[in-house]
Subunit: 138 residues, 2 copies
């Protein structure tokens, strides 16, 4: 939360209750919610918060590098409170999205630069399949 406040001030953005609440909500979950889900989670506690504010705040946080937007094969964007690049696991049955924290793919970028001539800024690794829970059940 300090990180949020510092970053907002550094960039001359106002520190508002809504921004803090949205940031906190995202930091306190591993569920990779979309804007709608964050809005619904906040609604009981902040009944007047607007969905547009959620969208705008998330967009701002992404542009400031505080969080990341992730797009799995869905029609809405999800958000990840962890700004560090890491692979995501998507269960095609229960649709949950998990992080793969310990992995040896931290720096494929350099290799891709050599192969392609691109200068790579970001890598996005998504793996689709069945999670252990769903394997068990089937």
């Amino acid at each position: 939360m300090n990180r949020l406040i510092e970053t907002l001030k550094e960039n001359e953005c106002k520190v508002t209750l809504q921004r803090i609440a949205i940031y906190e909500t995202l930091k306190n979950t591993k569920a990779h919610p979309n804007a709608e889900a964050i809005y619904k989670q906040l609604s009981p506690k902040y009944p007047t918060i607007s969905l547009a504010t959620v969208y705008k705040s998330l967009e701002l946080f992404v542009s400031l590098g505080l969080i990341q937007a992730i797009n799995v094969e869905e029609n809405s964007f999800r958000y990840d409170g962890n700004f560090k690049s890491h692979p995501h696991l998507i269960c095609s049955k229960c649709k949950k999205v998990e992080d793969l924290d310990e992995h040896p793919f931290a720096n494929l970028c350099r290799e891709v630069e050599t192969l392609s001539g691109y200068s790579i800024e970001k890598q996005q690794l998504n793996f689709y399949g069945l999670c252990p829970d769903c394997i068990q059940k089937s």
Copy 2:
């Protein structure tokens, strides 16, 4: 195109002019167009074709494994006439999407299975950065 016709017949789907045209359009480009772009490209030659047909045909082709849908950080899906999994390079300046054909990442899936306990069916590797052309220009 033979592949399309065979696959359609095997699956008891009708072979229509529209489906052939859409498939051909996608096979003959490396630009990874979205449905709208395919529709616009076909419109002059097939003025009565409907956007809905484009969407439905693409969906069908994906389900038959003839093409693949790819999602980079955009609000629409793009399509790739190559059904084999391969990494994509996205230029953050000119927004083009290219294939990385020769690469050593063909089978990260097995490794991810061991690390995660998931059973992985598909991997999606996207690399974002500047393409050689845009590096030159800047």
